[in-house]
Amino acid sequence: MSVLNVFNIAGSALTAQSARLNALASNLANADSVAGPDGQPYRAKQVVFAAKPVDGGGLGVRVTGVVDSVAPPRIMYDPKNPAANEQGFVTMPNVNVVEEMVNMISASRAYQTNVEVMNTAKTLMQKTLALGQ
């Protein structure tokens, strides 16, 4: 059934977009974390999307991996900071807050659109079930 497949497709998109929201929430939360679990400054995480065939036809989305951003770290002058080097510079995470906010808007809009797609498919399915009544 093609219309039922829409649920699989939009559902995979919802999962992927929420993974993206998770990653950028952790980026925003750690925008000022001088040291991560490994002692190094936190690096911004980015999710990678790829199209994935779903059962019964159609293409859904899959998160193929979470990669560390290769952007250069932010260098801040703060000699009082315990993480500062001899010259008084602190290596801050390479999180770009503006970029993350834009990313968040994009992810939330994409999520909303896919919910809308699911709702439409549900309405169509219900009308199909009521056929001939």
């Binding site: 059934m1 093609s2 219309v3 497949n5 829409v6 497709i9 939009a10 995979s12 998109a13 977009q17 993206r20 990678v48 999307f49 790829a50 199209a51 065939p53 019964g56 036809g57 159609g58 293409l59 859904g60 989305v61 994009s106 994409a110 659109t113 896919n114 797609v117 439409t120 498919a121 309405t123 169509l124 009308k127 199909t128 056929l131 001939g132």
Partner: protein, 134 residues
């Protein structure tokens, strides 16, 4: 008589399955709006329905001899021929999904699907009233 009912219902049935298939294809486009290198697809509804009425089958399916093989051709209904959408604004990541176009197509297709359902409902209702005794 029965074959005439079948003929009329058959047309709507094919149209409905093509509409449902198109809905699925556009849902795939919307789901992959942020996937790099994804190419938006759609079907030419008129040509597909003409093909379906002319007895043309769906795209050829490849035989899957191992469970890990990807389905090719898939479950496309009779007559459906998947095409690639001409992009209006190209993006750097190779994605050709234009959200406005897709959303408009999705809404339009949903209405057309409902129209098909209304036609079938009307057909069934007139059949029922024709069969009533008084």
């Amino acid at each position: 008589m029965i074959d005439r009912i079948d003929q009329t219902l058959g047309f709507h049935q094919r149209a409905l399955s093509l509409r449902a298939y198109r809905q699925e294809v556009i849902a795939s486009n919307i789901a992959n709006a942020d996937t790099p290198h994804y190419k938006a697809r759609d079907i030419d509804f008129k040509a597909s329905l003409q093909g379906a009425m002319g007895g043309r089958g769906g795209p050829l399916d490849l035989v899957r001899t191992a469970p890990r093989h990807l389905p090719a051709g898939g479950n496309a209904p009779a007559g459906a021929r998947l095409l690639y959408r001409t992009e209006t604004q190209s993006s750097v990541d190779g994605n050709t999904v234009d959200m406005d176009v897709e959303r408009a197509a999705f809404a339009e297709n949903a209405v057309q699907y409902e129209a098909s359902l209304t036609f079938i409902n009307g057909l069934l209702r007139s059949l029922q009233s024709a069969m009533q005794s008084q």
